[in-house]
């Protein structure tokens, strides 16, 4: 089996008496989509925050590309190739879609301390950014301020930004949230192809998307992974049915 790209071991995080992350271990292997599901309050967001670096675990380790990233901040992990999308769109709202993506391109080129050349005259920023927008179908809206984009377009923009980072791993936190059925289907097809570029750790509530996409699924309940396996294994897992699917299905 190939070496995992992202490897989490025995991660723990408590808030007072609440064990938000209670000994979670998780692997993300090359080429796979690993879905993380669980009911509300299961600790999915807390886990994502710890992987992204915005929250420090109490104990346990996170290895990314073979390196322990526990001491690294959000920006450093992103530069290593952790491409993240947010559950609630997080964009520079005054900037156009293009300029939002250009920030990611700029970061990838490790060059934010350049003071002279204007970014809107810099083809080395604009062209890769436009390419990322085209892939997500947002190119016609490139010059529209993010604040004026529709909800679905903002979700697309989140993905375009993650793409432009040229990441080694995608960390997608509910990319389908709030999208219509058509948008969800289109995004599902898109993500399906994306796993060839970099593996995806996918947190998602849309079960159709999860079952269509995931190579493996891990189920998080009360901060613990109660089951992990293929789609069929998870579907038939009695604990999972009780804890989670029973509620929705």
């Amino acid at each position: 089996m190939a070496e995992p790209v992202l490897s989490i071991r025995d991660l723990r995080k408590t808030f007072g008496a609440l064990k938000a992350t209670d000994g979670v271990s998780l692997d993300l292997r090359p080429g796979e989509i690993h879905a993380l599901i669980g009911p509300n309050g299961a600790g999915k967001s807390t886990l994502i925050h710890q992987i992204a670096g915005s929250l420090r675990p109490d104990s346990g380790s996170i290895r990314f590309l073979g390196q322990d990233v526990g001491e690294l901040g959000v920006a450093a992990r992103a530069r290593m190739g952790l491409g993240r999308s947010f559950q609630i769109s997080s964009l520079a709202l005054e900037f156009s879609a293009l300029r939002n993506v250009m920030l990611a391109v700029q970061s990838r080129q490790a060059s934010s301390f350049r003071f002279l050349k204007g970014v809107m005259r810099d083809r080395s920023l604009i062209e890769p950014a436009m390419a990322a927008l085209e892939r997500t179908g947002l190119a016609p809206r490139a010059h529209v301020p993010a604040a004026e984009l529709s909800h679905g377009e903002r979700r697309q923009l989140e993905i375009a930004i993650a793409l432009a980072l040229g990441p080694k791993t995608f960390l997608l936190d509910e990319p389908m949230a709030g999208m219509g059925p058509e948008g969800s289907r289109a995004l599902t097809a898109f993500l399906d192809g994306l796993r060839q570029e970099a593996p995806i750790l996918l947190v998602e509530h849309d079960m159709d998307a999860v079952f269509a996409l995931a190579d493996r699924i891990s189920v998080l309940v009360y901060g613990r992974i109660i089951a992990s396996g293929t789609v069929d294994e998870i579907r038939s897992h009695p604990d999972v049915r009780r804890a989670y699917l029973g509620e929705t299905a």
Partner: protein
């Protein structure tokens, strides 16, 4: 790529303001009214100080309530260098004797350097916080420097320090009000150019993004802290340069340049003109000095009316004067 109409209009308005600021003292000079030249110089210097603050406040969203520290430091650098040069006393004698300087370019260099060096630790500490805590910490640092200047007898303490003979600029007679105006105006234009280039650069993109959404900036791999710190230091250096000119204009520097009222005034200039707008500080400083002069001539309570105007801007014209005239800002 830019929103063509908006930019052209904003640039046109800006150039008009800059042209008026230039014409004003020329006309005054032709009419033999040197006082108005000084008024225009005051506008140019305050505009320069506000251009500095506009880097931190306008581009970076860093509400520094302590920029008087850098304005005052620039002023004291000019005063101290000049007084040592005048008295032929070395400021320090090891490892070599430094006699101060009465040359403006040297004074400017030191004013910017010292302001930047002081801004580095202040920024490094203050930028660990945000929001109202950032405002308070920058205020606290400025107050520390203010009280230090008050209690430092070597350079006048609370009485301040006079500059007996205005610092010189090669090829110009700076005692001539119009020449001094030309110097200040020239530096203002350079600062506006620096601001525009900075804003449009990669650094500027990161800085603008750090104001809009620091979480997003970090998530694409750009840590906001170093970007903000660099902006804070650059901002301080420009405001420090303005302080040196202000001291030379008044031929006097006192702790009032370091006071929190001065910090507030700088913020008012930026907000009046248009936060983050290239020509906002120019509009703000011209308006401010006009109000101060016109209303100040009518009533001692002119600041009451300034307050009303500021209230109007904050409530009804968030983009300041430039925003009202040129519309909302569009970033490509």
């Amino acid at each position: 790529m830019r929103d063509g109409v908006g930019m052209t209009r904003e640039t046109a308005i800006g150039l008009f303001l800059v042209a008026v600021l230039l014409a004003f003292p020329l006309v005054a000079s032709a009419m033999g009214e040197p006082f108005y030249i000084t008024l225009a110089t005051r506008m140019a210097v305050l505009a320069l100080a506000a251009v500095g603050l506009n880097v931190a406040l306008g581009l970076g969203g860093l509400v520094s309530f302590g920029h008087a520290a850098f304005f005052g430091i620039g002023g004291y650098v000019a005063g101290i260098l000049a007084s040592h040069a005048f008295n032929q006393e070395p400021i320090f004698s090891t490892p070599f004797a430094f006699m101060g300087s009465d040359r403006m370019p040297v004074v400017w260099l030191f004013a910017m350097l010292v302001s930047a060096l002081v801004a580095l630790p202040i920024g490094a500490i203050s930028l660990r916080t945000s929001g109202v805590y950032f405002i308070m910490i920058t205020l606290a640092f400025a107050q520390m420097i203010y009280y230090f200047a008050m209690s430092w007898p070597a350079y006048g303490g609370e009485d301040g320090l006079s500059i007996l003979s205005r610092n010189t600029f090669p090829g110009l007679n700076t005692a001539n009000p119009l020449s001094l105006f030309a110097v200040c105006y020239g530096l203002l234009l350079v600062a506006l150019l620096v601001f525009a280039v900075l804003r449009d650069s990669r650094f500027g993109a990161a800085l603008l993004a750090s104001r809009q959404n620091a979480t997003r900036l970090a998530a694409v791999g750009i840590a906001p802290f170093p970007v903000r710190l660099a902006a804070f230091v650059i901002s301080a250096a420009i405001t420090g340069l303005a302080g040196a000119l202000y001291a030379d204009l008044n031929r006097f520097v006192s702790p009032s340049m370091l006071s929190w009222q001065m910090s507030g005034e700088l913020i008012v200039l930026v907000i009046l003109g248009g936060t983050g707008r290239l020509f906002g500080p120019v509009a703000g400083a011209m308006l401010f000095v006009m109000i101060e002069f016109v209303l100040g001539g009518i009533t001692e309570r002119w600041q009451f009316f300034l307050g009303l105007i500021l209230l109007g801007v904050v409530l009804f014209a968030r983009g300041g004067l430039v925003g009202v005239l040129a519309g909302k800002v569009r970033h490509g």
